[in-house]
């Protein structure tokens, strides 16, 4: 009975078989989780943070939740909303060692930093569909990543922080609604939006921006936060050979992690953690 009306619009039975991973449970992730839960979708919820008083105006949490983990608080709330869904939580910052929690039908990036976004990109590249979302003040952005995030952020960029500027809660709702609509389409194998969607809810402007994969298969070293770097070699790599050649910390079917912390995706996508450009170049020559 719970889904009686929405059944006329979407295939709820199919959605109930799906799991979505949401990385970041702030102003975007918390509302996306609610919308997906109400449509019967199972969830993996990831966030290391606890609820603070500054979160109350733009996130789903209440005053009584202050000091509690966002994951646990949200999971409890969602279970009250829909007791039938399965929820898995991870109270940690997403990193190269716990990254296999992303194994699901779809990943939605609701983080606030480029470093985690590229980590998601490196794991999901040509494996798991994922949606990049971001918001600031009255601007929201939703992009179903077609190829790689480096098609959008392929040069050194500096990013505004939501901590400094905040997000109007109407922006969060709209971004969450657009992203979850695209998520439902992907989960149901329906055609989804290919362009990047970007709106300003204050000015009522709405842009659809076309992105093409980089024209030349350039090998660009992209600087991320905290001395991390990303690179796409645009070729398949043999992880069995590499895991024998380098000291390997973790081996999965699509990635290996080697020392010093380098995450290698079999499709040629590599993340270097805590290093410098010269070291990256040196390592690439040794490959």
């Amino acid at each position: 009975m719970q889904y009686q009306r929405v059944r006329r619009i979407i295939n709820i039975d199919e959605l109930k078989k799906k799991t979505v991973t949401i990385v970041g449970l702030g102003s975007l992730g918390s509302f996306m989780a609610l919308l997906l839960a109400k449509n019967g979708v199972n969830l993996n919820l990831i966030d290391f943070d606890r609820v603070s008083i500054e979160n109350l105006s733009s996130q789903i949490y209440s005053r009584k939740d202050i000091g509690k983990y966002k994951t646990k608080t949200l999971a409890k709330y969602l279970k009250k909303t829909n007791k039938d869904i399965k929820i898995k939580i991870l109270n940690e910052r997403l990193n190269s060692l716990n990254i296999n929690i992303l194994d699901s039908d779809l990943v939605i990036d609701c983080t606030d930093n480029l470093e985690t976004r590229f980590l998601i990109d490196s794991y999901c590249y040509k494996k798991i569909p994922w949606i990049h979302t971001a918001a600031l003040k009255t601007i929201g952005l939703v992009y179903v990543v077609n190829n790689s995030l480096s098609d959008l952020y392929h040069k050194n960029i500096s990013l505004d922080s939501c901590d400094e500027h905040g997000i109007l809660n109407t922006t969060s709702f709209m971004t969450a609604s657009i992203a979850v609509t695209q998520a439902i389409k992907i989960l149901l194998n329906q055609p989804h939006e290919k362009d990047l969607i970007r709106f300003n809810i204050w000015n009522n402007t709405f842009d659809k921006i076309k992105l093409k994969p980089l024209r030349k298969k350039e090998i660009q070293i992209i600087k991320l936060c905290r001395n991390n770097y990303s690179i796409n070699l645009h070729k398949k790599l043999d992880l069995n050979i590499l895991s024998k050649k380098y000291r390997t910390i973790l081996k999965k079917d699509n990635i290996i992690i080697i020392k010093p912390r380098i995450i290698i995706n079999r499709n040629g996508y590599i993340i270097f953690e805590d290093t410098n450009k010269e070291e990256v170049e040196k390592w690439l020559k040794s490959l």
């Binding site: 983080t111 930093n113 971001a134 600031l136 960029i157 500096s158 990013l159 505004d160 939501c162 842009d207």
Partner: protein, 64 residues
């Protein structure tokens, strides 16, 4: 003339320009803080421009 919108300043203008790089220099835009869109398509900085092109300098946003 090229139609230009700079989101950070909420400013629209018509200017003469041959390429995006020239626009960035003349309008004193910090290229590390924007994504550049020409005629609704993400555009590299070395892209040539012609009359009536629409160029938007949109702020990079990261909050979540």
């Amino acid at each position: 003339m090229v139609k230009v919108f700079i989101e950070r300043q909420n400013k629209k203008m018509n200017v003469k320009a041959k390429d995006i790089d020239g626009l960035i220099k003349n309008l004193n835009i910090n290229k590390e803080e924007v994504i550049i869109v020409k005629n609704n398509q993400l555009t590299p900085r070395n892209e040539k421009l012609k009359d009536n092109d629409e160029v938007k300098f949109l702020s990079v946003i990261s909050g979540g």
